[in-house]
Subunit: 223 residues, 2 copies
Amino acid sequence: MDAETMNATDEYGIPIIPGPSDSAQRKRQAIIDAALAEFLTEGYSAASMDAITQRSGVSKATIYKHFGNKERLFLAVVGGVLPQTYAGLQCCGSTIAQAPDLRAALISFTTDWTRLVLRPDIMSLRRLVIGEIDRFPQLGQLWYRVTYDMNNGPLTEAFTELDARGTLEVPDPALAVQQLVAATLGVLQLVHTFSTDTEVDEAELSRVITSGVDLFLARYATA
Amino acid sequence: MDAETMNATDEYGIPIIPGPSDSAQRKRQAIIDAALAEFLTEGYSAASMDAITQRSGVSKATIYKHFGNKERLFLAVVGGVLPQTYAGLQCCGSTIAQAPDLRAALISFTTDWTRLVLRPDIMSLRRLVIGEIDRFPQLGQLWYRVTYDMNNGPLTEAFTELDARGTLEVPDPALAVQQLVAATLGVLQLVHTFSTDTEVDEAELSRVITSGVDLFLARYATA
DNA sequence: GTCTATACATCGATAGAC
DNA sequence: GTCTATCGATGTATAGAC
């Protein structure tokens, strides 16, 4: 691996690690899994390459051959797991505009989204990214883009269409999406951001989301 | 300083550092200022006691005499600066209930609160606390308590009173407060959490907060 | 590509003089 | 209380054999 390939990055500044070659893929995946676990529990600075070496079962030199150094390993691992985690929810925005019962559709959509976001592993990853933003600003950009733009975009289009059709009256669709997300998902996420041991209570989840959607509809639904 | 005094903590687990004695107070303050700056820029793990020593101008042994170890220094510094930063905003809740123009009062209150919360130094402190929650859960509890309960409590009482008076119709005042905060402050805070260089645009701040308050009033104001 | 062994720096914390 | 000097551990990263 020459110096140029070693320092290549994509448009977000996430390192591009050269592709597969043989069964060294399994070792690479073992390194990634071990590194993610170590980074999640220790943070970037306190995580040690020795610990990742022991967790992964490969030698330390192999890790450096594959990822170059600690910073690039961190960026590759966190930047790689992020889009893959959120891949399941992206296509649900377009169904909102055609739903027969808008209120039920909004509740269903925000509930799914909230359940995903409140998963303990995702909350931990979020805290890790937030805490390391000064060191890795690219990850902050990537996180915001993956978690919000991916869903806010289709939802904004849906509201624009519903406004044109007369079902909703939304002068600023992008802001309305932000408000809907904040009033549902955001309320619960705030609590879980600062408390690691709080369980997700199903009854409260339903109560908060329903109330948030009704808050949204009270302002934007046409009479 | 004996072992018992050295390990004393208050109800949140924040170390209690023995009181003043002489002009060693200036050295202690210099240590606190230097430590806060170092922790904010480097995080807990990457911050070095050597760097804090150099920043503060005192010797490393003096720091250990005053604060015991790195963990206690961190807890004392972060746990100490937090309540003091938020001290200015706590008494504004009771004025909401008596305001002649409720909409204007809500806009004024949430605007002040948002301006405080979006200050770069407070956003940095917030990221630091979030990133170190696994290591210092007490700070997460303290942060949530200081930043939210302190303002949510009086606001909840105000909404309860306004409900009894018939100005508002709020079946769940505590949830309504969370929604108001999320729809105003929360929308802007989310963006600045993941981006360090984004400036606070006055026009957008006014636009988002006004729209958030109107969203709130559309649901909870009586006709 | 993968390993073992190691170089070299920096870390948190302390001993002992004053 | 405050300093200088230092200890032992651990960190990242690499050299060289296979």
